[in-house]
């Protein structure tokens, strides 16, 4: 029974030396050490070993350990910068080159004549509408033309007022 207790308390002895022992563990350890000479001897040896380890494991570094660090930091920073510039230039060149290729392919392969045709049709439609309006207006009586213009003006004014009112209301909200 005592042997088992001693074996389990070795961990507490080392935790005490390492300053990691809880108050409850400390109490348990102290009580055991008071009655167990073997564990007291083990603790003394452990303390000696701990001191030896701490004193022997700290080794003076070479004198030139720190000096090259700044140079290496600068070298890596420059390398990262150069890499970023190279990647940016590469991506831009790739995008420019591929855009050029696609444009050339589109011009050569696709039938793009519908674009000027569409613009021409649109312009013709405007011209037809304008001519029609002129023709109609020429045949209208002056009085009818006048009343039509007045009605149009009234409608426009109402429309503008509604739009203006909404925008003011929305602005205040």
């Amino acid at each position: 029974m005592m042997e088992k207790d001693c074996a389990s308390l070795r961990e507490l002895i080392w935790a005490d030396i390492d300053k990691e022992l809880s108050p409850e563990g400390q109490l348990e350890l102290n009580m055991h050490l008071a009655i167990c000479p073997d564990c007291r001897e083990y603790r003394d040896e452990a303390q000696v070993l701990s001191v030896q380890l701490e004193s022997c494991m700290l080794t003076d570094p070479p004198a030139d350990l720190v000096a090259p660090v700044w140079a290496e930091i600068a070298r890596r920073r420059n390398l990262r910068l150069a890499r970023a510039v190279a990647i940016t230039v590469g991506v831009m060149a790739f995008l420019g080159f591929s855009s050029g290729i696609i444009l050339l392919w589109a011009l050569k392969t696709l039938n793009l004549t519908w674009i000027p045709n569409l613009l021409s049709s649109f312009w013709n439609m405007i011209k037809v509408l304008g001519d029609s309006w002129l023709t109609v207006s020429e045949h209208l009586l002056d009085s009818y033309w006048l009343s039509l213009s007045v009605l149009t003006a009234i409608n426009l004014a109402m429309l503008l007022r509604v739009i203006g009112f909404k925008s003011i209301k929305g602005g205040n909200a």
Binding site: E45, C56, P61, L65, V66, P68, R76
Partner: protein
């Protein structure tokens, strides 16, 4: 507070503060690296790489662990990576011992003790050795070691106990 002030100055790009930090911690970081990899050249490379990473990643230091623990964690991770790549530990004979200058006899005894200790540490299994080095060189808390190595707290205590028992056994056949 002093540590936080130092970190704040380093975060703002103060090179003098970082140089002071390197001077203050180089012995501990080098010792941690040397204790794990057992090779002075590798240890020097690891210590330098530790400081380079510390400079570039200082913004990630939140103050949860002490600066010393944080640096030792970087160094020990690098050292473990080096060991995994190398897959072998150099024998003790490759590590130079500091020459005695004043008290030659005492230094010789101390050098013998150190040699025996180093030999015993080198013979430990890799994970045990790492724990012993982190504890006795960097004074790293159990919980930090557990977090760093992916172990439970009880595993850390148990392995440290076994490692120390092995050291005691090994040394009892040596100079002790």
């Amino acid at each position: 507070l002093l540590e936080e002030e130092m970190v704040q100055r380093i975060k703002s790009g103060d090179k003098a503060a970082f140089s002071a930090l390197m001077e203050a911690y180089q012995r501990k970081i080098y010792s941690v690296a040397l204790g794990i990899v057992r090779n002075p050249e590798d240890a020097m490379d690891i210590a330098q790489e530790t400081f380079i990473r510390a400079w570039t990643k200082i913004a990630s230091w939140r103050g949860d662990a002490s600066l010393s623990t944080w640096l030792c964690r970087i160094a020990s991770n690098l050292a473990m990576d080096t060991i995994r790549k190398r897959k072998r530990v150099l024998p003790m004979a490759d590590i130079e011992l500091s020459a005695a200058e004043n008290n030659l006899e005492a230094e010789v005894i101390r050098a013998e003790e150190k040699r025996a200790l180093d030999q015993a540490i080198a013979e430990l299994p890799e994970d045990y050795r790492c724990l012993v080095v982190l504890r006795h060189t960097a004074a790293m808390p159990y919980q930090d070691m557990a977090d760093m190595l992916g172990l439970s707290l009880s595993q850390v205590k148990n392995r440290l106990l076994r490692a120390r028992q092995m050291l005691k056994t090994s040394l009892s056949g040596g100079y002790k």
